[in-house]
Amino acid sequence: MKTASLLAGLAAAALGILPAVAQEPLRASLNSDIRSTQPGGNRDANTDAVTLHMVEGLVALDERATPVPMLAQTVEVSPDGRTYTFTLRQGVTFHNGAPLTSAEVLWSLRRYMDPATQWRCLPDLNGRSGIAKVTDMAAPDARTVTVTLEQPAALFLSIIARPDCGETAVLHPSSVGADGAWVKPVGTGPFMMGEWRRGQFVELERFDGYASLPGERNGLAGGKKAQVAKLRFVVIPDSSAAKAALLAGNVDVLSEVPAPELPDLRRSAGVTVMAAPTMGVTALLMQTRDPLLKDARIRRAIALSLDVPELVTAMIGDDAPANASPLPSASAFRSEAQAARPTRDVAAAKRLLAEAGYRGQTIRMITNRRYPNVYDAAVASQAMAAEAGIKIELEVLDWATQLDRYTRGEYQMMSFIYSPRLDPSLSYEMLSGPKDTQPRKVWEDPEALALIGRSMTTTDTAARQAIFDELYKRFMDQVPMVILYNQPDYMAVRRGVQGARPWAGGLTRLWNVSRD
């Protein structure tokens, strides 16, 4: 008996079970390793998710992706709409204990505006993309920072709050070495950098000096609290292995759960699956310069041949509604006017096809298997279109090749997934433009482009809403693409994990999350 106990004790100690339980980090899955720890630099969605636990910007996106103050206590815009004055919150400190002042904000902004930093969002703020041009940045006192733009820009705050811009995080200068090379993020977030074992995991540690905003979590803003001492993002590329890891208790949170794993996880006791529609768009693109598809009647016939609500329900159940608008269903600007979509009408589709002289020519639709929803959408729409006599042939490519063909505009049809655009102007901008210079753009309508341009400089909310409603009418009339839905972000957690919730912005947020 004694021997058995001893052996069990030894085994447990060897396995590291006994002492490990109390210190075990909260573990969340990542489907690939992060690219760097540099906010808005060499990044992808996983990189954004991890770094935004450590850093914060002057403003951050709330639950509906609207920018709200984060490190700024207030944001004031001058009457001419050109100067933004940020007054900083008091009592905020960096991970190294230094207090947050306007000097660090100015240092961070200047670093981002330096092309050598290779900040992803520089073109949006130096006038190159035509969205905004920063002409001056100043720190009149220790708590105030001003940013002046050449022209008013409705998107300015949205851009600096964007997760892919790293929230334009305010960093302490010790984040870089003496030579200016990146070291690690010394930010103001609820967690600080721990260990990054490449290809295996990234571990963050609780920042005990974190100064939280009052109130509840609100998107990437609001009250934040590190409920666990350590947070570990574990790299698990294979979705089946990730599912097994969750079920076996090797991870606590499974983010971005792939659709094929959902049924099993939903049936599993001790696991809760949650879904929230994101701002990403799943759509069927049509090349309006294609000899066949340049005829709007054929494009309209394709749209009419599809029962999109049925298709969406078959693919994802009630996890996200069908949405015909480029504006995500979670957007604050998605009005009633943008909910209108024609119902399926196979007879009308056939009539339009006959009028256009369609004689059963094959239309090739590119898709991929990296994103199962994109592939499923292609297969389902192929079958539905066939009922109207439209012959669609699928061409399955790897994602890199599909993205290349998208960028070159070399396709007839394409089942595609757009990454989230968190401002309504950008939701339209992502698909509109002159194809001669930007072949990736799907919708080529000079009047629509002018409207989008106006929406970027108009700061009045009602006026912007009217512009987006007008854009939607034109979009539905010309049918350059069929938007299906905003893909949901799925998150699965083990029993005992409290407070985890997916978000429309699609990033895993593990502050305010605890484990029993």
Partner: protein, 315 residues
């Protein structure tokens, strides 16, 4: 004599490696897809793309890119990863250690099981035992590694909870934990390679058992066990050794499927991730490294051959 032979073989490897370098470089560039595009995603505009390509050195002509890379490679510098800016050679060496620890263990175990098993099956040819061994080996050989891996993972990791389902710990860090983490990948790989090696060992032993010197040994009145141990096993091992070399060369180049299923940060996953990300320096460096490993393992196999078959040395 052996040293001259080894040097000759190594010299012969140089054009092979050069050919591999050219082929990998050319094939990678032929595949559509652009690392800068992948990094920027669907939001990339032409200016951003051009700037990133410039910073990655992708705007130079292909010959310039190739010779820049080759020149650096000859100095031992395989470049930096386009995805995470890490130097490629240390990345490869780090990942190779992980792969090698699994592969060497699995192949050694597979050889220890397969060679005696194949020899005994050959000795008892057409018996029930032989049929069972051949059937088992064929079954193991036919099972896809990812499927077997997933079954192992679900049964031992999930259902029984004996071992962790994902992750990796180095032997230097915690040997016991390391063993727990690699036991499933090692067993999976061992089972699959046992199938291949058993069939080879059996077939080689059958050939040897038919030879005159075996009949002579038996007629001298030697015990069957002695005949097998002294005359059959060593002679039948030589062809199996060749196969072992090939298997080892193949596996050391990366066991991408096993590494992906068990979340092992090995060389195979580095290569696959590199291909998906169009991370040219990583893919080129890894392929060159794999080719070098292949050449070295085969050279070692050839050098070991005379120990098991002295006729080769005599020739």
């Amino acid at each position: 004599m052996t040293a001259t032979y080894a040097l000759k073989r190594l010299a012969m490897a140089v054009p092979t490696l050069l050919l591999v370098a050219v082929a990998v470089f050319a094939l990678l560039r032929l595949v559509p897809g652009d690392p800068a595009q992948l990094m920027l995603g669907d939001a990339a505009d032409a200016d951003q793309l051009a700037a990133l390509r410039e910073s990655m050195g992708l705007n130079h002509s292909l010959p310039v890119q190739f010779f820049n890379w080759l020149g650096a490679a000859l100095r031992g510098d395989l470049g930096r990863s386009l995805s995470n800016d890490q130097p490629v050679l240390p990345l490869i060496l780090e990942r190779f250690q992980v792969t090698a620890s699994i592969v060497l263990l699995a192949v050694a175990l597979a050889a220890l099981i397969a060679i005696p098993l194949g020899t005994i099956a050959a000795w008892k040819q057409n018996s029930l035992l032989d049929i069972a061994v051949v059937g088992g080996a064929t079954l193991l050989l036919s099972i896809p590694s990812f499927w077997l891996g997933l079954l192992m993972l679900l049964f031992f990791g999930l259902k029984l909870g004996w071992v962790p389902v994902i992750g990796y710990v180095g032997f230097g860090e915690n040997p016991w934990q390391a063993l727990l983490y690699i036991v499933l990948p090692v067993v999976t790989l061992t089972l699959i390679e046992t199938g291949v090696l058993t069939r080879m060992a059996r077939s080689a032993a059958i050939d040897v058992l038919r030879l005159e010197y075996v009949a002579h040994a038996r007629s001298k009145g030697l015990r069957e066990f002695t005949v097998l141990r002294r005359h059959v096993l060593p002679n039948a091992f030589a062809p199996t050794l060749t196969l072992l070399g090939i298997v080892l060369g193949n596996l050391l180049g990366g066991i991408a499927v096993i590494e992906t299923v068990f979340t092992i940060p090995g060389l195979g996953r580095l290569l696959v991730d590199g291909i998906y990300a169009r991370d040219y320096p990583v893919v080129q460096g890894t392929m060159l490294f794999v080719a070098a490993i292949y050449v070295l393992v085969n050279l070692l196999t050839d050098l070991l051959y005379p120990f098991f078959d002295p006729r080769v040395a005599a020739e």
